[in-house]
């Protein structure tokens, strides 16, 4: 060994530490900082890596608020495009089809989605009405996506995954922030938020935002009547009195208007409208023995009108309780219970009828989770959830996860789980009264079931280059289909299909330099549907051609100079044979300029590579879009 090796080692050593410090803009010697400054440093991105290194026991992806802002995403579905493994397809100017691991469609029903703990899926069809969802985007803290069954801790909708959307605590959104902008497709948008303290132990914030989108051009260059506008208002208060309790209260209200025209159902071209309000309260307390107790209650009121096809007023009440505690040196036990009541009144226009027109559906669940430290490098996590609703008997959803740190750089994990999609109003009560081509609900519809087997690995290749590989195989049973019938009979909704899905998801992140971070990801999915032996339904099988076989994402966050930021994403989705849709590749890009300490200007382009392209369905298309945003953050007034 020669002196040159020494200097290589020393150089490498100091490069590592210098790199880490330089990234955060901190001095080499942290003891130079005051105590206040030390306590103000963001450890999240680093410790989440550290945490995730040890805790990668499922295919979890965390998208930070910062990454979302840099991408230029103005609405939630646009932010979800950044998550590898999700299939996010814009259906038209108003609707989105979002799912993980297949089973997409704008009635995708195998994904649970939460905003600050409030479930936003509709109990009507176990899916999300994305056109009625909105958040104040600059105040997003992170979006966590768990791909693969998470039913045990999150609910019986979480068959293919959970999306957890989290906004910042009120204490982190103090002062004034306001933005405004416009463009060709996203025609105008503006928002304002103000936050302040409540005494010594609390904080609050309130926001108001509005945006308007132009109609999309259809594939034959006609203007579709699918423009929309959304107004959203919200309030959040967090209060932490000194005795280890925390109370969070979140209230939201919204109203949107969706262009609509149909010569038969809506010849006047009256806008479809949705409006709603919701209130959530969450109380959490750290007990003397180190245990954490939480209680959460939310109320969600929604009104939906789709002229000629559908109308509903719904109130949902949900109460959840959770207790988490370490037991001895090796066990961490979380257990809880929940109860949900959802009451609706359907307008029942002639084409889609729910019987009865008004119904209250109740569901209750209890769950327990034990995280066992078998050895310092090996954890075993056992989960079980028991749930039932008015349409089904109580049934258990268990899962077992094992994770093992092979060495300080590599963690392996595996998981086996059973998940259910409980029956909903659509399965049981619907009637589309058309002989031969309609459908009628089935009171004996059984829960859809899946058994999923996953295996994954997280590996730190070099300093700041991390690779995650997740493989999965899922066997589905009792899937929903429709039993064909000849006139005058109406086909019956039945459990008549099985499916097998297998795939691989590879995600990597590389801090290439202190000013450039790259994310490269690839997902492969093979979905195969098969009818059960005793059914004549061959139509449902087409769903296997609605899941893209390949998807790829390349995303970058680049700071070419202290006042300029460039963020962007290249995304590719392979062909969807059922819609005769060829694969597409698209580019989104945002260039941000910190013009003054409190002023930022951003130029954003979405779907830049093609003037328009189709992502889902047979008719609509997504157009190239460019817009400009001004943001002013004077802070405290």
């Amino acid at each position: 060994m020669r002196a040159s090796r020494y200097f290589l080692m020393i150089g490498l050593g100091s490069a590592l530490t210098a790199g880490a410090a330089a990234q955060a803009g901190l001095p080499e010697d942290l003891t130079e900082l005051s105590l206040e400054a030390l306590l103000d440093i963001e450890v999240t991105s680093v410790s989440k890596q550290a945490e995730a290194l040890a805790d990668a026991a499922a295919a979890v992806y965390v998208l930070t608020g910062d990454e979302i802002r840099r991408s230029g995403a103005q609405t939630l579905p646009e932010a979800l495009r950044l998550v590898p493994g999700l299939h996010v397809a814009r259906v038209d100017g108003q609707r989105w089809a979002i799912s993980a691991r297949g089973y997409n469609g704008d009635v995708a029903d195998k994904l649970e989605v939460l905003i600050d703990g409030r479930s936003i899926y509709s109990p009507l069809f176990s899916g999300v009405f994305w056109d009625a969802q909105d958040v104040f985007m600059p105040d997003l803290e992170r979006i966590e996506v768990i791909r693969g069954p998470a039913a045990t801790l999150w609910g019986s909708n979480a068959v293919n995954g959970v999306i957890n959307i989290v906004t910042k605590a009120a204490a982190d959104t103090q002062g004034l922030l306001t933005y405004a902008g416009g463009g060709d497709e996203l025609q105008s948008f503006a928002g304002v938020r103000y936050g302040d303290q409540i005494g010594e132990h609390g904080a609050w914030r309130a926001h108001l935002r509005h945006w308007e989108r132009d109609a999309i051009r259809t594939t034959d260059a006609e203007r579709a009547h699918d423009g929309m506008q959304m107004t959203h208002v919200g309030l959040r208060a967090d209060w932490a009195p000194a005795d280890h309790s925390q109370l969070t209260v979140i209230a939201n209200g919204y109203q949107n208007g969706l262009q609509n025209f149909d010569p038969a159902l809506n010849p006047n071209g009256d806008d479809n409208k949705q409006s709603g309000a919701n209130l959530l309260a969450r109380w959490s307390r750290l007990l003397d023995d180190g245990a954490r107790l939480s209680l959460q209650l939310f109320w969600d009121h929604t009104e939906r009108t789709q002229h000629g096809t559908f109308g509903e007023v719904r109130d949902t009440w949900d109460l959840q309780f959770q207790h988490a505690r370490d037991w001895g040196a090796r066990h961490r036990i979380v257990w809880g219970a929940g109860y949900r009541l959802s009451r609706d009144a359907q307008d029942n226009p002639p084409l889609i009828v729910f019987t009865p027109a008004e119904r209250t559906v109740r569901s209750a669940n209890i769950f327990v989770s034990d995280e066992i430290a078998l050895r310092p490098d090996t954890d075993l996590i056992l989960n079980a959830r028991l749930e039932h609703n008015d349409f089904s008997d109580a049934d258990i959803q268990p899962s077992i996860r094992l994770r093992h740190a092979l060495n300080p750089r590599t963690t392996l994990w595996s998981k086996v789980s059973r998940a259910l999609r409980l029956p909903n109003r659509l399965d049981a009560d619907v009637l589309i009264p058309l002989p031969e081509v309609g459908a009628r609900g089935n009171r004996d519809f059984q829960p859809e079931e899946s058994w999923s087997y996953e295996l994954g690995m997280r590996h730190v290749l070099r300093d700041n280059l991390i690779v995650d590989i997740a493989t999965h195989f899922t066997a589905y049973d009792e899937l929903r289909g429709v039993e064909p019938a000849s006139a005058p009979d109406i086909p019956l909704i039945v459990n008549n299909y099985t499916a097998e899905a297998s795939g691989v998801e590879i995600t990597s992140q590389w801090q290439a330099s202190p000013t450039l971070k790259l994310h490269l990801a690839y997902a492969y999915l093979n979905l195969d549907l098969e009818p059960q032996a005793d059914t004549a339904d061959v139509q449902t099988e087409a769903a296997e051609n609605q899941a893209p076989r390949h998807q790829a994402w390349l995303r970058w966050d680049w700071d070419p100079s202290p006042r300029w930021q460039v963020g962007g994403q290249l995304r590719h989705v392979s062909a969807l044979a059922d819609f005769e849709l060829p694969g597409y590749t698209e580019l989104d890009l945002q260039i941000g300029w910190q013009w003054q300490p409190n002023w930022q200007l951003a130029l954003t382009g979405q779907s830049l590579l093609n003037p328009s392209h189709r992502e889902w369905g047979l008719a609509s298309a997504v157009e190239r879009s460019v817009f400009l945003t001004f943001t002013w953050t004077p802070g405290a007034l």
């Binding site: 060994m1 090796r5 020494y6 200097f7 080692m9 020393i10 490498l12 050593g13 100091s14 590592l16 530490t17 790199g19 880490a20 410090a21 955060a24 901190l26 010697d29 942290l30 003891t31 900082l33 105590l35 206040e36 030390l38 306590l39 103000d40 440093i41 963001e42 450890v43 999240t44 991105s45 680093v46 410790s47 890596q49 550290a50 290194l53 605590a169 204490a171 982190d172 000194a242 005795d243 280890h244 003397d288 023995d289 180190g290 370490d326 001895g328 040196a329 310092p376 300080p408 750089r409 730190v460 070099r462 300093d463 700041n464 991390i466």
Partner: protein, 181 residues
């Protein structure tokens, strides 16, 4: 990282191996460095009744933190006393600060805190049961930043005095009077 005088390839290989093994720690590095700098600040803002000899900062059950603390704080002084960082000491009564890390079993933490009770030794850690077992200062994270809790009753018993500059940034927590776990 100082160039060490070498006599042969064995020493070099050991250093190289140590460096490569510590490479993945860069992911933890910033969090550990902040903790190390914080411990140094804590030493500056606490009064010990006797101020002679070396100042011993003892780190039990946290080898990553010990390594980072050594590289961050080597050569520094606390109140004109040379700062010495020790790891896995047998006799904690020699220490001015004892850090009880994540590799220790709960029972070991409880036993050590029992030994330190009433003595002018600052007990620091992260375990959830630290305060209820009689510890003084507990590190944690909230909203992605380092935070800490301080229990005042054990401080009074110990003869230490904590400066208000440190206390006003702390979350003061009650020391439970019930039976410890």
């Amino acid at each position: 990282m100082h160039p060490t005088r070498t006599r042969g390839s064995v020493r070099t290989c050991v250093l190289l191996a140590a460096l490569l093994a510590s490479t993945p720690a860069v992911a933890n590095d910033l969090a550990q460095r902040i903790k190390a700098a914080f411990l140094y600040n804590v030493a500056k803002f606490v009064d010990w009744p006797h101020n002679e000899g070396d100042f011993h900062l003892c780190i039990q059950g946290a080898p990553d933190l010990a390594q980072t603390t050594r590289s961050e704080l080597s050569g520094k002084q606390v109140r004109d006393r040379p700062l010495v960082i020790r790891e896995q000491v047998a006799d904690v009564l020699d220490c001015a600060i004892v850090y009880l890390g994540h590799e220790l079993e709960d029972a070991a933490i409880v036993a050590t805190l029992r030994t330190l009770r009433g003595r002018p030794i600052l007990s620091v850690g992260e375990a959830p049961l630290l305060i209820s077992a009689g510890g003084i200062l507990r590190l944690k994270q909230a909203q992605g930043k380092l935070r800490f809790e301080v229990a005042l009753e054990p401080v009074e018993e110990s003869g230490l005095r904590i400066s208000s500059k440190l206390l006003r940034l702390a979350e003061i927590v009650p020391h439970p009077t019930g039976p410890s776990p």
